[in-house]
Symmetry: C4
Subunit: 238 residues, 4 copies
């Protein structure tokens, strides 16, 4: 971690904001331009996310690690704590605050770019048992992927790997893979394709935390004994 904390928090704020702007904005465009086929909308939405998320990880990774996700920051703390190199818990808290603020800001930005009201509250209920199982799977897989890369010195691959993983998870999970509490909260604030009703948010976040635990257990089982490297930033220039 070379960058100062304020600079890292700026990067996390902007990165999460732009991530939600990508998710929500491309969802609005897809809904408007392909009104006859929801699958086509999701294909457009997911392809934009694959490429956009990868670009954002490249853009902000060397500054803050490009977490954009409190679950990832928590895992970074937990898996790096023994070697004293991960985020501190206080830093995780600060990361989470700006990630959530960024998530909300990104939804507002997307709304404004498409000439919609700055804030609308989503009415899309998403909390079914299948969707919650999907969030557990999606989040566990995300955590396992990121820290598998970190613990095998392949952090430079995080951009295409994570972008691609999320793009796939839009499809193979029934929930379209939120897998991120900050993004989940941000997506409340746009009553459009990618929105989520407030009543579904707590169950989604709870499922994501279960997925976090599962993902960390997977890493401890599959990539043990490399604790001294666990605090590598997710992305680092070669």
């Amino acid at each position: 971690m070379i960058s100062s904390l304020p600079r890292r928090l700026l990067a996390e704020f902007l990165g999460t904001a732009l991530l939600v702007a990508v998710v929500v904005g491309s969802g609005i465009a897809a809904q408007q331009l392909s009104p006859d086929d929801v699958g086509l909308q999701l294909l457009e939405n997911s392809m934009a996310t694959v490429f956009g998320l990868a670009a954002l990880i490249l853009m902000f990774g060397p500054v803050s690690g490009a977490h954009f996700n409190p679950v990832v920051s928590l895992a970074d703390w937990f898996l790096g704590r023994k070697a004293g190199k991960g985020l501190s818990l206080a830093e995780v808290g600060a990361y989470a605050v700006v990630q959530i603020a960024g998530g909300i800001g990104g939804a507002v930005l997307a709304n404004l770019m498409f000439d919609l009201d700055a804030v609308t509250i989503s009415t899309k209920d998403r909390a079914t048992s299948g969707h919650l199982l999907a969030e557990i799977v999606a989040t566990a897989g995300l955590v396992a992927l990121i820290f598998a890369l970190v613990r095998s010195n392949r952090g430079a691959l995080a951009a295409p790997a994570v972008g691609g993983y999320i793009g796939a998870a839009y499809w193979f999970t029934s929930s379209t893979s939120f897998a991120n509490p900050a993004v989940t909260i941000g997506r409340i604030f746009s009553d459009t394709f990618a929105g989520i009703a407030p009543s579904s948010v707590a169950p989604f976040i709870l499922a994501q935390l279960v997925g976090l635990v599962l993902g960390v257990l997977l890493i401890l089982a599959l990539y043990p004994g490399v604790g001294d490297k666990a605090d590598d930033v997710v992305v680092r220039p070669g």
Copy 2:
């Protein structure tokens, strides 16, 4: 091979399970969301598989080689046996058992994520002469690709290469390219887009074994004289 056998078997189980969850789950989503165009369904299904398979190879490659496929494990044994470095035949057997178990588990997981019955048996007959020829071609190409990379010290490219190859083979083969006995068996257990009727499974696996032989012959013809490297794991961090 650094990891212990139990750890490698866990990786092969989880990787194959998640691979089938990707294939079956994205097939269910595609079928539900794009009901009017089967081609669009297959495009959605294939794009999810490209990105998902690549992510899984990155996630589990350094642990087990990320075979997820008994045909690949067999080829690894055969091509590496002279140098005494590939999987042993006993290990191939253990790999195959957990790959098949994973394949079945992945179909169940996909069903549950989409709030379907945990197990349904596919009724989709697939065994035509064209499809069997397609499975031979698809499997031979898969084996040739993987071991071309291994034998030219480019194993680190396996994730995008294999993901992309399978995505292409969904389209250029008439069978949509199963090319994997464990995945074929797993796909029995979901009567959805990506399913396969039990009566078609034996011919498909037989064709895949013919493809395995053909692929190995191609490697021996095109990349001879590098037997001492044949047991490199498929994916290894740079």
Copy 3:
């Protein structure tokens, strides 16, 4: 900068011409072949641009830096001026002239390849407040991405990163992300899917210049203190 200025100007002319030919040409094809769904047209148009732009950056990057965009050339001058290594302002002017000429030439080429009149003037008004906000965001993100890569010695990733970013920005911005004054001017000259009416051009370019300033400020905030490397060419062979 190894290449002579005339060679670099040839590369910028050809690269910008081919970039506009990709954008306009694939737009024409999409409009003709998928008449029933504008979203599908944009998906086809954006995927062609992702792959085409990446290829062009690889093709011309080692010669001229593959800017293809006066905004990028301006940022290169500004961010590299302290170390005396970026483009000079005179060179920026020369780059801009050939970029604009190339942009126009590329639209003509696309029209001719599709057996249309060599020049038609677009009638598509695009200047809404949402679109102008979108151009600011899209351009700021583009500048931030490119110089984040440059300032962290990852310029070799520019081809997939920039191609992917623009592909995402087609979707997450409401304007479909022009983000480039030369391309904006070129797109006047084809009254087809990707065209822009002359009356919308000045507001778009103004918004792009605002985005340029914002992007440069972001780079100074996130990647300070590396002024001595700011003049690296965008793409350089490994």
Copy 4:
């Protein structure tokens, strides 16, 4: 060039055959599965080609250079002749013979995989003035891309670069970018989506040869003075 000539010819035969099988086979699948939208068919066809062509270049590149295209082989001879390292003209002839044979074989293979007659002659006339201009542009760009990579020691990027370029060129050229005499001849033999009527073949190949000259001139203008490296194989393991 390490491999013996017979091995290289086998690689060129198989690679060209599989390339045409990818192009023709995915075209048949697209036509059958997405009957209502020709653009969607081309999107499916082009995405399969992006991924399939990249995989084939990885598979055969270290053996033969993965030309799969007489135009590329001719450029390899011409650009490498001064340093005495490119293909000899006799080798170009041998390459072209097996490339053409492979192209025909690949069309037959695709037909058989889809349970069609082994050989049908395409009735799709394609020779318009716009299409011929498009073939010149597409071929010049292909040659320029490949040898830009070769002359800047980035041959290892050929697989994604060439795959992506061709995928873009399916869309931005009106001809869908054949850009390859062997593939053009092969595509005569399938009266399906990707076919070409025999009467259009000679004009297409002529246009491709014009594109070859143009592409070589571009390389000489943009990447001069590196003649001693011009005979590097297109793809070489890192």
